[in-house]
């Protein structure tokens, strides 16, 4: 962050990278991580559906108090961030570093916006005397969105790590693989939210 814009490369020779259409992005190990994490969330979602079945009326009455607008807004924000991350990875793969940098800064802005929306959403619930211990639905709501928010904060660190790669004078194939690994994590954070939103906010 200390450098001026002039010192940062706007473009570099495209690094040698495998064909984007046929290779698995990032390194294989991140996919072990992603599949395990998705399985963890799947277990939590299954537990939620099981417990909701045991007390459908309470869960429906509680769900009615959720703000679908906040949820939808955050869905839009995260989808936009994923699009920007895609643009960032493309820019890095092609050596168009300025473009990649702008896109990734945009993704960081989206992540921060998501957190701001979340603060207002949770703040509104606390103001209405709704807490995680109010009932089972709210325990799941704060727990699932909280664990997701924790993932998103890690993702913010990952985006910063990706941004640092856009300041290198010459990118290697390993740099690109690292950037793809980070992008895969970010898309996972997005994907988890895309399941949480309908599950908690919409489904009856």
């Amino acid at each position: 962050m200390s450098t001026t814009i002039d010192e940062r490369p706007a473009a570099t020779a495209p690094p040698v990278v495998p064909d984007a259409r046929t290779h698995v992005p990032g390194e294989i190990g991140i996919w072990v991580f992603i599949l395990l994490d998705l399985a963890t969330f799947a277990a939590l979602f299954a537990a939620f559906l099981h417990d909701r079945g045991g007390d459908a009326e309470l869960y429906a009455a509680s769900q009615a108090k959720l703000s679908q607008d906040f949820g939808a807004l955050n869905t839009l924000i995260l989808l936009t961030s994923s699009l920007l991350v895609v643009a960032g990875v493309r820019g890095i793969r092609a050596g168009r570093l300025r473009e990649a940098r702008l896109a990734l800064y945009g993704a960081v802005a989206c992540a921060l916006a998501f957190c701001v929306v979340k603060v207002f959403e949770w703040g509104g619930k606390f103001a209405d005397d709704i807490t995680p211990t109010t009932n089972g639905f709210w325990e799941y709501y704060f727990g699932l969105t909280g664990i997701h928010l924790f993932h998103l904060l890690i993702g913010l660190g990952v985006l910063t790590f990706m941004l640092r790669r856009t300041r290198k004078a010459q990118l290697t194939g390993a740099d690109v693989a690292n950037v793809e690994t980070g992008a895969s994590f970010w898309h996972m954070v997005d994907l988890i939210w895309i399941v949480i939103f309908p599950l908690l906010y919409l489904a009856h």
Partner: protein, 248 residues
């Protein structure tokens, strides 16, 4: 080359987990965990009804806890190969990992106090039950950093690949899966209470998987190290009529 000892150390991890399942699960009957929202009288009833089984189960759990240490030492040996002389990550892993037996044995002692005189005041029995259950399930604070350190060390090892890289990513997932453990103090019922899916079942799976996978990884690394050592000395022995068995 003490490969036999390393293999034994590697096997200690899975054996410790099987000991936990027998002691904590089958004998104590703590899988699923007793509810954290039970009244003091219900907790007392549990200890009165199953006093001896719980006492024996806790003893088995405590004995199994010590078997964690050899595997931690095995992981340390190979992390130090990755890092060389100034093995900061390996020693951090060693120190934090060696706390694990204590983090299980001391909570078991507190539960043994509850089981020792279950006929005393029910509130006291419940208090000792809480004092044992909360740290047994929730005492992940040292382990969290330990698995992160193991993950980082493995992922930084691009040259030797002593452990497979996916094992490094697996360690980072274990760290993430453990995080909901911070919530058990705030909930007496539901998915984030000490018997809930997130702090108990997911962590039991992640934690047990860690001991099986790291046991396998240490076993594999020790075998490969011995093979490399055998290859390194092989050229000098070409003139000898019969090769010596180097493994074991």
């Amino acid at each position: 080359m003490n490969v036999t000892m390393q293999r034994l150390a590697a096997w200690c991890g899975p054996v410790a987990m099987i000991g936990f399942l027998i002691g904590w699960g089958a004998l104590c009957g703590f899988i699923p965990m007793p509810s954290s929202s039970e009244s003091a009288l219900e907790v007392q009833r549990m200890y009165l009804d199953r006093q001896t089984l719980i006492q024996v189960g806790l003893v088995v759990t405590m004995l199994a806890s010590a078997l964690i240490a050899p595997l931690i030492a095995g992981v340390f040996v190979h992390l130090r190969r990755i890092e060389g002389q100034n093995a900061v990550l390996a020693y951090t892993q060693l120190g934090l990992g060696m706390l694990l037996p204590i983090l299980f044995i001391i909570p078991c002692f507190l539960l043994q106090v509850a089981a020792f005189r279950p006929e005393r005041d029910a509130d006291l029995v419940q208090a000792f039950n809480d004092a044992g259950m909360l740290p047994f399930v929730g005492g992940f604070y040292a382990t969290l950093l330990q698995v992160i350190v193991v993950g980082i060390a493995i992922l930084r090892d691009r040259e030797q690949q002593i452990f497979p890289r996916w094992v490094g990513w697996f360690n980072l997932w274990v760290a993430l899966a453990m995080m909901p453990d911070v919530l058990i103090f705030f909930f007496k019922t539901g998915p984030f209470s000490w018997r809930g899916i997130a702090p108990f079942y997911i962590i039991v799976v992640a934690f047990c998987a860690w001991f099986f996978i790291m046991g396998w990884a240490v076993h594999r690394a020790a075998t490969r190290q011995a093979e490399e050592a055998a290859r390194a000395v092989a050229p000098d022995r070409e003139h000898q009529p019969e090769p010596e068995p180097v493994l074991a």
